[in-house]
Symmetry: C2
Subunit: 360 residues, 2 copies
């Protein structure tokens, strides 16, 4: 056992003095250099244990020019999707010896830009960034000189690696799922008017495609705007749609939070789900398996997104010559059918343990 835990830190000098070697030898031991006599190594290790020495990471970082930290910029952790994503990214990073520093942009444009150029950037070796407000017009700001991986296909051909799911296809599949159940008056919640390349636009596009392929017209009255993709805005939009008197037999929430907000309103108004209105969401956050009714949704392969992003970033960080062309990885998605579209006959996944369940 170690004895020391003193106020000020022990340095390699002190360890070296105690072990009777040079500080470089201590450094070599710490870093697992191969040519060290076992006897020396033992002496150094004993000294390290005695003094409770630990490497000063700031000094190492300065010397090595690496910090071992990667940044993760997301809108807000209080949005379950991003909390779960952060969880996965942290796990993936940890498995590769990296630490994660989280920044919240609050979906505010200025703050998204700040993340790209801010001071904080220098604490990290690279950045995984999920921008919501930046668009193609910001391509310049996104042309940064450090490793970066973007999540989402918002910035087409942008100057960085991208990890994204196939938003159009996934939204089309979600809509198709509703069409297959015989629904014809499918409302959308979460559209962003005027946007052309964001997740909202792409998912709406997938929705349109599915309808058109089915030979249906897209009724603008069924497309509900919702700037922020929160439960509250989902609820408000659902109310607006219902109050408008338009006929609706299904709702496609562009994310789960919106769909859950909608579900809440439908329940409050005693509208049967899926009897009168079927509901599908997008993201497969854990909550969807426990809502009443449970929510059918699109699973975007969160783990896959996280590990791919970390791997791509790490590759960029360790890249010798930074010439490699930027890649775009498109991850798999799957429709997870639950009660909100299939009704009670759907298997109720009561005992579904979280993927990364931990011991008691």
């Amino acid at each position: 056992m170690s004895t020391a835990k003193r106020g000020s830190a022990v340095t390699m000098h002190e360890v070296a003095a105690r072990a009777g070697v040079s500080i470089k030898t201590v450094s070599n031991v710490v870093n697992g250099y191969q040519y060290i006599r076992p006897a020396t190594k033992e002496r150094v290790e004993a000294a390290i244990a005695d003094l409770g020495y630990q490497v000063n990471i700031s000094a190492r970082n300065l010397r090595r020019g690496r910090t071992g930290i990667i940044g993760l910029a997301v809108p807000e952790l209080s949005l379950p999707y991003f909390a779960e994503l952060a969880d996965s990214v942290i796990r993936a990073a940890e498995a590769r010896g990296l630490t994660v520093l989280i920044e919240q942009t609050g979906s505010v444009r200025e703050r998204e830009l700040e993340v790209l150029s801010g001071q904080r950037r220098h604490l990290t070796d690279g950045l995984i960034f999920s921008p919501l407000e930046l668009g193609p017009q910001d391509a310049d700001a996104l042309r940064v000189d450090y490793p970066m991986v973007l999540l989402g296909e918002r910035i087409f051909g942008g100057p960085a690696d991208h990890v994204t799911m196939n938003n159009i296809e996934a939204a089309r599949a979600a809509t198709q799922h509703l069409l297959d159940l015989g629904r014809r008056r499918i409302a959308v919640i979460g559209a962003h008017e005027g946007e052309t390349v964001g997740s909202a636009a792409l998912r709406v596009q997938g929705y349109r495609q599915a309808l058109e392929e089915a030979g249906l017209d897209v009724d603008p009255a069924l497309v509900g705007e919702a700037g922020l993709w929160h439960r509250a805005t989902g609820a408000e939009t659902m109310e607006r749609l219902l109050d408008s008197g338009v006929e609706i037999d299904a709702v496609f929430g562009l994310n789960d939070a919106l769909a859950l907000g909608a579900l809440h309103v439908l329940h409050a108004r005693r509208i049967d789900v899926p009897g009168q209105i079927a509901v599908i969401g997008f993201d497969d956050i854990e909550e969807t398996a426990y809502s009443s009714p449970t929510l059918t949704t699109v699973a975007p392969g969160r783990e896959q997104i996280a590990t791919t992003a970390v791997d791509l970033l790490l590759a960029r960080i360790e890249e010798v010559e930074p010439g490699k062309p930027f890649v775009q990885v498109i991850t798999d998605f799957a429709i997870v059918g639950r009660e909100s579209t299939l009704g009670e006959q759907a298997p109720v996944p009561v005992s579904r343990a979280p993927e990364h369940a931990t011991a008691t």
Copy 2:
């Protein structure tokens, strides 16, 4: 506008050369030292802008002995309570110029111990730690030589500042709420057998107190164990209780996830909530305002916990002489009554915007 964004970083030397001053003067400008001629300052600032210079934080950290980063160790971000807590802590830290580095312990004892002594510690100036598995027997491990604030009252009289809510009182109030509604067969979900000082034990204690004050016996058959406080374990425990055949007219979930899991099972079994069984949770995560029915819960003052913890930690970090006795701050709680106990007459908070709502 700045011109440069070169591969390797610009240093103070280059700025100094361009501005025709010493590097210390550049440092002085950067740090807002007062005795600098306006003309000099302008020249330096121009050079900084031209070269796109940014301080190398690793070097500054090394020199100053501070990193400006605080650690936050929580079980998992995929648990909404901790995601929301992390959100609040990040905001509070940011307002004070600090960055937050999150570690996930997964409620695994070894990992909780690792957090205390691990390498990563050196990246931070202090730690906000929410331990779940450590107990009084770990007081030694908790006696660290760096600033630390513990969340939760698990380690009584432990060698650190604590921020906690009054678990016993809050649980008593929650139970009282159910008693006031005429419930007499109140089940608990989430007890930890054998534990005496954790949140589980304290909340169960509050539950017992309320029952005893009401002149009721505590029926062991009503106390449901659940190691992990997840939705899945809540659902499992609820099923076990129902299957046991014991009479139940109310359920107290020791956190919201457990209560939501229970709600899910009750819904699946078509048991009316609150008609047949009333349900109350604990934590006031956002989801509780949108579940069906909405969930009555105990609001532990998350923002207050976060800001208090950050303030305490900062005080420790900036403390000149580290003699000050450890404090324990107990935050306020409030019962948030919703449909799961009050039924439909409860106001449905459809438009309840999140506290930190951001612009569209």
